[in-house]
Symmetry: C2
Subunit: 144 residues, 2 copies
Amino acid sequence: MPASSRERLGAVALRLTAPRIAVLDAIGPGQHLRVDQIAERVRTRIGRVSTQAVYDVLAALTAAGLIRRIEPAGSPALFENRVGDNHHHMICRSCGAVVDVDCAVGAAPCLTPSGTAGFHYDEAEIVFWGSCPDCTATTEGTLS
Amino acid sequence: MPASSRERLGAVALRLTAPRIAVLDAIGPGQHLRVDQIAERVRTRIGRVSTQAVYDVLAALTAAGLIRRIEPAGSPALFENRVGDNHHHMICRSCGAVVDVDCAVGAAPCLTPSGTAGFHYDEAEIVFWGSCPDCTATTEGTLS
DNA sequence: TTGGCAATCTTGACTCATTCCAGATAACGG
DNA sequence: CCGTTATCTGGAATGAGTCAAGATTGCCAA
């Protein structure tokens, strides 16, 4: 599914630059990475890159639809590979782990209810808050 | 439904202080206010109050379940009056307006889907992104 | 009614994520 | 190969929120 980073950049008419290629390469499938994590990975691949460049690249790639940005409450922005589908996220309250979720009830999980007259929406974003397997195990083990 | 601010504070065993009463009074039904907006309202009521105190009070009231905190992407935290029900929000992308939404399909709008083995969730948070009536009208009028 | 203690508030410094700016650099169409 | 213009660099600045130490003050008990 994911063509090479160069091909993906070309497909959306973005200039082929080392930072862009490295950023795209840095974000693997299923991952949800912070800007600093991405910058670190990029630097191990191509050496010194300004933080600003990483922000610029991420904004350009997001605008082009090559990556997706999510911003969970209490967390800095995270970036992921998977785009184009209307998937959601499940987030662990204690460790912040994020996993992708295919919505169980279709693309538009909730229909517009009453009380929103005139309000027109085009996206329903869902976050499931809970506890990941690891944290559930740890908590159960340490409960008094 | 909402008893006086003093009564509500007493009901959750929180000390009765001027900043707390003023903060509770400042957040009206249906409103979604930023910390600075709340601080401003509080100061018009009781004079000088430190910003830190406003943060502390909001944290205490949130922990006590008297108010609810939401944190939409790209916005500072917002606080609202309505708690205890599992309602959601519709947010205007252009002006940031927030309106409450009763989920159309029940309390748990989406069931846990596949691919989340071991992940246990207790809350599904939904944000509908779109355009409010005012912004829809404005945009339509100015489209080229 | 008065103490006393712990919760609460004040002040001010500080962190973190992100953005703004001006100038240097480099990709790519011609 | 060149020029234009998008990108990148470096550094300062902003905004939201947190941390910490000490001064106040609400409230329970005497």
